[in-house]
């Protein structure tokens, strides 16, 4: 249900694995490595994490989503290590009977992941690494769920 891995993922395979007779709506979020940063053109990023904590932190976020919405399946994959521009970083998949629960819970999981899960991105521009600064829009995004 939750994977932290270096290898890429295939959303079609992940959706197929979720199937159950009464799923009516599946919402997915994929985060990708963007080329443009404030300091220039990003060729790659490096994703560091806190191994002992990441799995537990994501499990807690998913448990909170399950407590709020009637979900029929949740899948979270977050990659770590070096990723080139345009590569996939994260996948959140949520299945439910109806679309409102699926849309809301996927947005909720991403808002929490962005502010609670111990991952850090370093962007490489012309061979030099720059730690990404946390965005204040991310910490204000989770206020709407309180």
């Amino acid at each position: 249900m939750i994977s932290i891995q270096t290898q890429d993922f295939n959303i079609e395979d992940e959706i197929r694995a979720l199937q159950a007779p009464n799923i009516g709506a599946i919402v997915s979020f994929i985060g990708l490595v963007r080329e443009t940063a404030s300091h220039g053109r990003v060729t790659a990023i490096e994703l560091e994490h806190y191994p002992a904590m990441t799995q537990r932190s994501l499990e807690d976020i998913v448990a909170q989503a399950n407590a709020r919405w009637p979900l029929m399946g949740v899948r979270v994959i977050h990659r770590i290590g070096y990723l080139a521009a345009s590569e996939q970083i994260v996948l959140v998949l949520v299945a439910s009977q109806h679309r409102a629960a699926a849309f809301e819970s996927a947005a909720f999981i991403m808002d929490y992941l962005k502010t609670q899960a111990p991952f850090w991105k370093k962007e490489y521009v012309d061979g030099v690494g720059h730690w990404v600064e946390a965005k204040t829009t991310d910490s204000s995004a989770i206020d709407r769920w309180r």
């Binding site: 985060g31 994703l47 560091e48 994490h49 806190y50 002992a52 904590m53 537990r56 932190s57 977050h78 970083i89 994260v90 991403m110 992941l113 962005k114 502010t115 609670q116 899960a117 111990p118 991952f119 850090w120 991105k121 370093k122 730690w131 990404v132 600064e133 946390a134 910490s139």
Partner: protein, 84 residues
């Protein structure tokens, strides 16, 4: 009592160290532990004197300044997260 300190991302790089075994005289708050670390001077004070935004996790759960650190704990220090 002994605790384990862990540092990630910018903190790990600035301190040139990912973890450290630390001797604690007695259980204390996160706030007090930060003061002890800042008192080490130089790069330690620049990271832990309150001028930098630092997140703290105790035994892999997010903590607050008032959380209590005790024997055997794993206490991690890191900047605001930027995954996803």
């Amino acid at each position: 009592m002994t605790i384990k300190l862990c540092f990630f991302a910018r903190f790990r790089e600035k301190l040139a160290m990912g973890e450290e075994t630390y001797m604690l005289a007695a259980s204390c708050s996160v706030s007090e532990l930060l003061k002890q670390l800042a008192a080490r001077g130089e790069v330690w004070s620049s990271l832990f004197d309150g001028s930098q935004n630092v997140l703290v996790a105790i035994n892999q759960e997010m903590a607050t300044l008032a959380s209590v650190v005790t024997d055997g704990d794993e206490v991690a220090f890191f900047p605001p997260v930027t995954g996803g």
